[in-house]
Each structure stands twice: as structure tokens, then as C-alpha cells.
């Protein structure tokens, strides 16, 4: 009997806490996250990039990324050729939140990779922003964005999942999974005198499959200063 009471009590406390949290302005949460990200003026990161799109066969390549406040980002492959979904990877949390203004709406809680998160829907103000809607899954205790689902005007919807390690204090991830719906992309039709038509298996395989780009960061150099012309 008392056991049941205890459970009810716990339940009520949970609801209260949850409501209390709800009551907390999600705008404030986003602001805090942004403030954390704002600690970084610029960074240079090295890592590896893997492209996993059914109809793209590419080797794992070493990449270098450059970021400078407010929203300048560049991904550079150390030699070689990189194929990225348009407007995709260059999009990152920093420049999303750097957008001039947004409306944050609480969308409840969720769990991503076994981490409890608060879901926040961000609606950028103004019409000329490419982002229409972005849902952030924020780890409230660490003020880290674990996942985002972003719908853009030009480049469809894509998801980013981030995991953090030693650069968590700056809000910089160790790993980013960038996934998008490959179905939305046109198959390349090469004008290459290729006569083979034996790729049906590949066509089958890619149907409805998500394309992914995975970036594994091996190190950051933070706030060391980057020349502007690098982004040109």
C-alpha cells in the first residue's frame, strides 16, 4: 500500500519537476547553449570523413575544418575530392544559433543515444533564412546539442547526431553523423559511355536508404585565430 503511495508520490514529483522545467523558458536553455558555443571564437579541426551514400563509393578521407564566428565554416579535404550533400555539412550548430533571431518552442523530452534530452523547436525569424525549422535535442545538464533535425528550403531535411568527448566544454563534438534522405537525390546519370546496366542491385539497395556523412574529429585547435581569407 505504502509502496503504491510512494510510486504515486514519485510520479507527482516527476510531473512537478517536469512542469517546472517546462515553465523554464526554453529560450533561456537555447541561450545558454549558445553562450557555451560562443566561447569558441574560431577553431581548426582535423578529422576523418566517411561518405556513406549508396550510389557514392568513396574512400575515407582526411578533412580539415575551419570555423570562425559568427557563421563562417569551411570543410577542406586534405587533397583529394570530396562529395557532400549541398549545403549539408557546412551547416553546423554554431551558425544555426548565430542566426539573427529565432523563436524557441518547447516540444517535450526525448531520448537520444540513451541521453535524456529536451526537444526544442527553433523557428528562425525572417523569411530569408534557408532554415525553415530545426528541432534540437538538448542535453540540459551538459548544455550540449545531441541531435538536430533541420528542414531547409533548398536542401531538404537532414539530421545531425553528435557525440561529445574532451571538447564538450566548448560544445564541440568528437563525432558528427550527418544523415539525409538519399531518396530525394537524383541518381547521377553519367555521360561517360558506360554501357553497363548491371547496377540494378545498387539501385535497389539505395531505395529509401538514408545517406550518411560521418565526421570523426581527432583534434581541435580552439581560439588560435584564423585569417579571414581562408574562407574565401
Amino acid at each position: 500500500m505504502s509502496g503504491i503511495k510512494l510510486k504515486v508520490l514519485v510520479g507527482l514529483v516527476w510531473i512537478f519537476v517536469a512542469q517546472h522545467s517546462n515553465a523554464q523558458d526554453v529560450n533561456e536553455l537555447v541561450r545558454k547553449v549558445k553562450a557555451k558555443l560562443d566561447l569558441v571564437n574560431d577553431y581548426t579541426a582535423v578529422g576523418k570523413m566517411k561518405t556513406d551514400v549508396a550510389f557514392i563509393k568513396a574512400p575515407v578521407g582526411a578533412v580539415k575544418m575551419f570555423f570562425k564566428k559568427p557563421d563562417r565554416f569551411k570543410l577542406q579535404r586534405n587533397g583529394g575530392i570530396s562529395v557532400l550533400p549541398k549545403g549539408g555539412v557546412s551547416f553546423n550548430m554554431g551558425n544555426l544559433l548565430a542566426a539573427t533571431g529565432f523563436t524557441a518552442i518547447d516540444a517535450g523530452t526525448g531520448e537520444v543515444a540513451k541521453i535524456k534530452t529536451r526537444m526544442v523547436k527553433l523557428l528562425p525569424n525572417g523569411d530569408n533564412n534557408d532554415v525553415i525549422l530545426s528541432t534540437l535535442y538538448i542535453d540540459e545538464s551538459n548544455l550540449l546539442i545531441i541531435k538536430s533535425v533541420t528542414t531547409t528550403r533548398e536542401n531538404g531535411t537532414f539530421e545531425m547526431e553528435m557525440s561529445y568527448g574532451k571538447y564538450a566544454t566548448y560544445g564541440l563534438p568528437d563525432k558528427v553523423y550527418f544523415s539525409f534522405n538519399a531518396k530525394d537525390y537524383k541518381l547521377p546519370k553519367g555521360i561517360t559511355l558506360e554501357f553497363d546496366d548491371a547496377d540494378k542491385a545498387i539501385k535497389e539497395k539505395m531505395k529509401g536508404k538514408k545517406g550518411r556523412v560521418e565526421i570523426i574529429y581527432s583534434g581541435y585547435e580552439i581560439n588560435k585565430g584564423i585569417a579571414d581569407q581562408l574562407f574565401k
Binding site: 551514400v53 550510389f55 568513396a58 570530396s82 549541398k86 537524383k186 547521377p188 561517360t192 558506360e194 554501357f195
Partner: protein, 291 residues
């Protein structure tokens, strides 16, 4: 045999016609390189028009490796003509000139004479390919630099790591050599039947053109005979430029997607060579020289 091969090579390289082929290749490759050097950006934009709407491709696509791939694709359609020019003339040309009967009254076995002639045609073919490699690959590498090789297959994109490309070209050229030797063998075989040069040259090209069309057309009726056409296999040098991926769709360096396809095609081409040359020798041994 060795003496005879030397003599056959001597004859080939004493003829102006032989150098015509090398000049033609130099000119063709030069034109392609010049065109791509000047307007290469437009070319890649054109080729990737569809792809570029969804993906941004970053890097030096128009590098020497890519140029060589374009050259090989274009050239390997035309090189058979240059090979036929010599190979299809090996027997018929001598019959036409009247030297065949003099040649055959010399104390050499007909098999040895024919093999020497065929080997000379093979040497010529290989030299032509080496020249293509020098002009098409090495010169392109010098002019355009090197980078990863970005290829648009008919339904997917392959990016071959720079360090993983060169051996593939070595393999591709070896395969192309086999394919071109098959053309030489065909021309050689056909040259047995005529006493003028033009006939077998035209016949060789006609066979190749017709078979290539059959190989290319996607019509069920033709699909059943496709595997038996040597032209269906000649293009499989491209298989060298496709690799296996692991479960994470990650390229496995140094692999080939369909090595069995290359082996199978090589065997079929080799069988054609043996067939054509063997038939030519068997027929030639019995042939009455009336010219």
C-alpha cells in the same frame, strides 16, 4: 622465329603507315588535352549537371587521372581502326604486293611465318598502347596534376583515392592490351581471306562496329548473345576503376569490385585470340598461294 619476328618488325616500322597511327594518337590525345585544358570546367559541369544539383563536389576533378580515363574511353573506340590498319594488312598486304609467294618459298615453316607476323602485330599494338599510356596518362599527369579519380558510372559515383589509382591504370592498360590484341587477331584472321589491304581492314572495323552496337543496345534479343561477343568484354578495363566497400560503405583500398568479371573477360578475349590466330594458322598451312 626470332629472326623472322625481327624482319616483320623491321618491315612494319619501315612503312610510313605505321607512324600514321602514332601521329593520329598524338593528335587525338593532344586535341582532347587542349580542349579539356581550355574548357574542361564546362565539360565537367556538363557531365555532372544532374549530380551537381544535389551534391557539391570539391577538389581537382579535372586531374591527369581523370583526363586519361576520358582519353581511354574515347580512344579505345578508335584505336581498333589503327590496329586493323596494320594487323589486317599482315597477310593480305603481302598477297597484294606479291611478296607472299616469295616469302613462302623461303625455308621457314608457314606456322613460324604466321606466328612471327602475328607477334609483330602484337608488338605494334603494345607499342601503340604504350604510346597512349605515355601521352594519355603521363602527359596528362604532367599537364593536369594528380588527385583522386572521380568517376560517374552509369548509376553511381566512384572516387578512387589518388594513391590507389596508378596500379589500376597499369591493370587497365594490360587489359586494354589484351582487348586490342584481340582486335589485331581478328584483323589478322580476316587478312587471310583477301588479297588486298582495304577489304580486311574494312571487314575488321565492320565486325567491331556491328558487335559494339549489339553489345551496347539493350534489346532482349541481343542480350542473349551479348556474353558471346568479344566487344562486350573489351570495355571491361573499366572494372579496374571500381572497388569493394565494407559494411559501412567505406572504400576498401586496393580492391576491385568485380575481379571475376575481369578474369572472365580476359579468358574470353584470350580464347578469341587463340581462336582467330589458330584458325588463321590452320587455314594458312593448307592454303594454295595463287597470287
Amino acid at each position: 622465329m626470332w629472326t623472322h619476328l625481327q624482319i616483320e618488325l623491321y618491315k612494319i616500322f619501315k612503312r610510313p603507315r605505321t607512324y600514321l597511327a602514332f601521329a593520329a594518337i598524338t593528335a587525338l590525345i593532344g586535341v582532347i588535352q587542349l580542349g579539356l585544358k581550355v574548357d574542361g570546367k564546362e565539360y565537367t559541369e556538363f557531365v555532372m549537371a544532374d549530380f551537381a544539383t544535389s551534391f557539391s563536389v570539391d577538389g581537382n576533378i579535372l586531374n591527369g587521372y581523370f583526363i586519361c580515363y576520358v582519353i581511354l574511353q574515347l580512344l579505345l573506340v578508335h584505336v581498333p581502326l589503327l590496329i586493323a590498319l596494320i594487323a589486317a594488312d599482315m597477310i593480305s598486304g603481302e598477297a597484294n604486293m606479291g611478296t607472299l609467294r616469295l616469302l613462302l618459298t623461303k625455308p621457314q615453316s608457314r606456322t613460324a611465318i604466321l606466328l612471327a607476323k602475328f607477334l609483330a602485330a602484337v608488338v605494334y599494338t603494345l607499342l601503340l598502347l604504350i604510346w597512349i599510356a605515355i601521352m594519355g596518362l603521363l602527359f596528362s599527369m604532367l599537364i593536369f596534376g594528380t588527385d583522386d579519380l572521380f568517376l560517374m558510372k552509369s548509376s553511381y559515383v566512384v572516387i578512387v583515392k589518388e594513391s590507389d589509382v596508378f596500379w589500376r591504370y597499369a591493370g587497365a592498360f594490360c587489359f586494354a592490351a589484351l582487348a586490342m590484341v584481340t582486335v589485331a587477331a581478328l584483323g589478322f584472321f580476316l587478312s587471310f581471306f583477301a588479297e588486298n589491304s582495304i577489304g580486311p581492314i574494312v571487314a575488321t572495323m565492320s565486325v567491331i562496329v556491328v558487335c559494339t552496337i549489339l553489345s551496347t543496345m539493350n534489346i532482349p534479343l541481343f542480350n542473349t548473345i551479348k556474353p558471346f561477343l568479344f566487344t562486350s568484354h573489351m570495355n571491361n578495363w573499366k572494372e579496374f576503376f571500381d572497388f569493394k566497400v565494407n559494411d559501412a560503405n567505406e572504400a576498401i583500398i586496393g580492391t576491385i569490385q568485380n575481379p571475376q568479371k575481369i578474369i572472365q573477360s580476359s579468358c574470353i578475349l584470350f580464347a578469341h585470340i587463340v581462336g582467330f590466330v589458330g584458325a588463321a594458322i590452320i587455314l594458312f598451312r593448307k592454303k594454295d598461294i595463287l597470287s
